[in-house]
Symmetry: C2
Subunit: 223 residues, 2 copies
Amino acid sequence: EEDSRGSSTNHKDGDENAQLALEKIVGIQHEIDSLNEQASEEILHVEQKYNQLRKPHYQKRAKLAQEIPEFWFTTLTNHPAISQLLNEEDEQALIYLENLTVDEFEDVKSGYKISMHFRPNPYFENAVLLKELTLDVSGDSTITGTDIKWKPNRDLTKQSDVEFKGRKRPLEEVPSFFCWFNDTNGNESDEIAETIKDEIWPNPLQFFLHGEVSVDEGEEEED
Amino acid sequence: EEDSRGSSTNHKDGDENAQLALEKIVGIQHEIDSLNEQASEEILHVEQKYNQLRKPHYQKRAKLAQEIPEFWFTTLTNHPAISQLLNEEDEQALIYLENLTVDEFEDVKSGYKISMHFRPNPYFENAVLLKELTLDVSGDSTITGTDIKWKPNRDLTKQSDVEFKGRKRPLEEVPSFFCWFNDTNGNESDEIAETIKDEIWPNPLQFFLHGEVSVDEGEEEED
Ligand SMILES: [Ca+2]
Ligand SMILES: [Ca+2]
Ligand SMILES: [Mg+2]
Ligand SMILES: [Mg+2]
């Protein structure tokens, strides 16, 4: 039994029929692939449109959050996964977090940037700490993070060097959350970044209010 | 320090400002949630539209595939993951597979059905074996599978009972692929179903052609 695929014969035998059918399936596959690309493009446009529509709401939210003491600190420390990654000193530093934003790149699919804005604080000089994830066309990610300018003896990521309020950090404590800004290994997924982008950013309120008295969701009194 | 959230005071102190800001954030969250729902709806409509557009291509493909000997058998046995799940006798039975289809339910999000159409064969009476996955609103899945009517002494899922071509099935052989139709545990994801739906169905050709000579992708000669 000779496999005649790819060879040509002059009579329409079964192999020739099969070969023609196969070539037609190749053509059909191109049409399916092209429809899939069109579908992806349309979905991307929908996502871009709604990103624009959500933006002013996020901006209003950011302003209002600054009128609420420790809004982002409370949100992060109430989040079930993030709270596990914060040691005592991380929490002391995160009290100075005054704004947190997630910005998807314009084309949505190529990545996003997480910005954490801090008030002047005893730990580091930076006003903003960034974590940025860029996806290339093949789906590989490049991660960059701000190089934190720690104040003298305040580097929370260097456990052995640091004393805090006169006592050594207990050995059983978790590594500092701020190590995350140094963790730029694009081979693994950045779970902290994904949690912030997919859980906290779309609805920080659910974590901020966790364990609080319920909020009156009725009309706002402006008087 | 009393937490005055949820209580009302008559002067606009910091707590009252924070309370008003919080109530406004609640309102903004409702608007964000509503935009998210609209975005999901629009994306769903795009997916439904393209499901309809792809359908005639899949139907043409199904007809053409039947002109190619062992198209689906070759596709499945060439797939790197599926091939691992096929023992020798499974392959003997899958030679009779003449069509394979995946149908997403109209609303796309509620589930899909995989149909495997068989020519008359020495193993079972059914012309079609189905696996159906239904997702309810809370995301839980219900899985149903065809109860295969095996011919006498041909039940491939009962290893100990079966002899094949006069010899016992070796103990080290993998369990039968056909056990998949009985495996309706909705708590786990159905990885075989997902592989068929997400990898094989959109492009069976890439597996069918795996290791074959390259196909002329130029114009089809109709003469
Ligand atoms: Ca009120
Ligand atoms: Ca040709
Ligand atoms: Mg905000
Ligand atoms: Mg087909």
